[in-house]
Symmetry: C2
């Protein structure tokens, strides 16, 4: 944090802050929010699709009917009526749950932080996919674990790698995975691997943390069973309404055994006392109208599918032949791999100069890898903008490749 | 946590969870929420005083005018327009601030957690008042500090104790204080002590964390200068709208130097990505109408003053002569001290049996003290209920005293 040379507290901070740094990438993103830049960087849902009239009604109903509850402190576990709705939402994905086993959190992100807090001692091993959700890596990193990275391919986590690690004597505190349309890779864990992972972890006594923000955003193909449905005892399950409804209400949740739930509630109370009853009641009300929430979700899926299609065909057309990329069947992201020699972090400034932004691959690895990779989000920009942005990015990649060749690269 | 004998993850939890326990007191509070029990326990603001029509308007305006912002992710630092309003609120208490130096948090509680996260290494010393806000103790405890306790009297923290500790070689990571109408003691730090504390800490290079949830709820007497106004460089200042508006919006904040702000924002993003734009915009809108928020605040102050008066005269009338108590000039709480031999934790079950509840004193000390003390909240029950509750509690105290005497106590 060299940018603040005069920091009177410099010798006061905790050791864990050493891992918290504001990168140059962050500074570039500030530039990338200019309207002329096509941002393929942020994972912002397309909330413009939410019906204004219905939302006005929902907010008005809550303020009229439940005002004093909405405006008061609530319990650390979250409003019961909402937990009942979340149980219903989980049932959509084949997960059976009791509202007593659910804790409402500030987005699923807070569930990651609280799980880190109750499970990770400094030096403990946490097993994560490579690449993995950057927010999970930061949440866990605050508790100073060692990361064991498990490679992924088009079928998600390569579970054999965990098996070998266990044989080698590793016993991670937990395994973290986003099995459906993962962030950033956009890949989905196959059924065989799900069954293998669940059996392996049950046998080894290693809890699984299953993070499922995108499960209901499937564009094609059949749903695969949630890990939690395969082993309710050993899997801690995280969900969120950020992608099916709105991230602005900050409603996520964790489903776990009573002993874990009790610790999560205590950790949550120490972290922020309780969530917002107001946004919990608005969320509960939103999902109380079956036609409304299903209609909105169907519209979102249609929108995102069209955007994915636009992105994939533009990439096919515009990117150099040496690039490879994933073909997600849902979610928000395409993951692009470039030949050795590319450095997507170094290239970002040039991309922003050409009015397109992405997230460099290194963000998604705890070990500095990913320089030749990038995450492209298709969730927010319109199809036209996506095609425009991919065009700009493709041109840059061709130029970079040519430059690299002219310098004598492979 | 003996109540869960079968916990498959029992050997997996982090060391810090050893300090997180669900006490029997918690179980009793569940019983105490029955409507026939007068609860003098909880610090719930009287949100019933908030005008329904105005709140409906505010929510409707946000959903109409700023819907897509309200429903989208926001930045980790919090919505700028709200930060500008909070700067205005701080000016009410003589604190000058720049919106860039403010981070919006999930209530001030989250600010406590994030400060713990960025400042406390295991074994570090944190100086706190005795008694101290229980939520601060739990937030900090998660980062495993050693607590240095500083006694209080009717003029707040006895600053000389900190001075002696520094002479002895102590150098706390920070000093935490609630200088105005503190929770639980209800006492206010005198002007002399404020000046002494600020000079002492500046000299010793020890940051002060000033937590000021109740400052605007003054019933009588003149305001005293905020510590932050006495030393803007060395004081980290926390505020909240939970007491002047609503805890349901979960809006608190921290004001600090840019280097601390940067670390808080990174820690906040790792903890929950961002706060709720929806509740931030509602809060901003609420405080945009000067007449509205000042009118509501004035009404709250009038209500709480009358309730304090009712509680103090009922205590005077009903409690045994051996009891002493504080006389708060604002805030929510009266702090009662009973003779040695009383055990307010043990007595709580009998109190709930007699349909009155309080918070036992031990909750407010990190070192097991406070058995003969209790916190009584006058913020939520009506005057009649307060008188009723204090009557029941007084009768119990007389009975306990008699029993104690008959058993040969002092």
């Amino acid at each position: 944090m060299a940018e603040f040379s005069i920091d009177r507290f410099v010798d006061r901070y905790a050791g864990r802050t050493a891992g918290m740094s504001a990168s140059e990438v962050r500074a570039l993103f500030a530039v990338a929010s200019r309207p002329d830049v096509v941002s393929l960087a942020g994972g912002m849902p397309y909330v413009e699709a939410l019906p204004g009239r219905a939302l006005l009604d929902v907010a008005a109903q809550v303020m009229r009917d439940d005002r004093t509850t909405a405006l008061q402190y609530g319990g650390g576990q979250g409003h019961l009526a909402l937990r009942e709705r979340l149980v219903m939402l989980m049932a959509e994905e084949g997960v059976t749950a009791d509202p007593d086993d659910v804790v409402v959190t500030t987005g699923a992100q807070q569930a990651l932080d609280l799980l880190g807090k109750i499970f990770i001692d400094p030096g403990d091993t946490v097993a994560v996919e490579a690449p993995s959700y950057v927010g999970a890596l930061s949440a866990f990193a605050a508790y100073e674990p060692r990361f064991l990275t498990l490679e992924t391919d088009d079928d998600g986590m390569i579970v054999e790698q965990l098996e070998y690690a266990i044989v080698r004597g590793e016993r991670p505190t937990f395994v973290y995975t986003v099995p459906n349309f993962g962030n950033p890779a956009g890949v989905t864990m196959s059924r065989d691997r799900r069954e293998h992972l669940v059996a392996l972890c049950r046998e080894a006594g290693i809890p699984i943390v299953e993070d499922n923000p995108y499960g209901l955003l499937r564009f094609d193909g059949d749903p695969l069973p949630a890990l939690r449905s395969l082993d309710p005892q050993n899997v801690i399950y995280l969900g969120t309404v950020s992608k099916t409804f709105s991230p602005g209400v900050r409603v996520g949740w964790v489903l776990a055994d009573p002993s874990v739930v009790q610790r999560i509630v205590l950790a949550k109370e120490a972290a922020d006392l309780c969530g917002s009853n107001l946004t919990m009641l608005i969320t509960e009300r939103w999902f109380s109208d079956d036609e409304r929430w299903r209609g909105t979700l169907a519209q979102l899926v249609t929108t995102y599918r069209a955007r994915r299609d636009a992105m994939l065909s533009a990439i096919e057309e515009q990117f150099p032949a040496t690039a490879t990329w994933t073909r997600p069947r849902g979610g928000f992201y395409v993951w692009v791999s470039l030949p050795d020699g590319f450095d997507t972090t170094a290239m970002l400034a040039a991309a922003v100069e050409r009015r397109v932004a992405y997230v460099p691959g290194t963000a998604f690895y705890p070990d500095g890898r990913g320089r030749e990779r990038m995450r492209l989000a298709f969730c927010y920009p319109t199809e036209d903008r996506i095609v425009e942005g991919i065009g700009r990015l493709g041109a840059l990649l061709h130029d970079e490749e040519q430059l690299y060749r002219s310098l004598g690269g492979a």
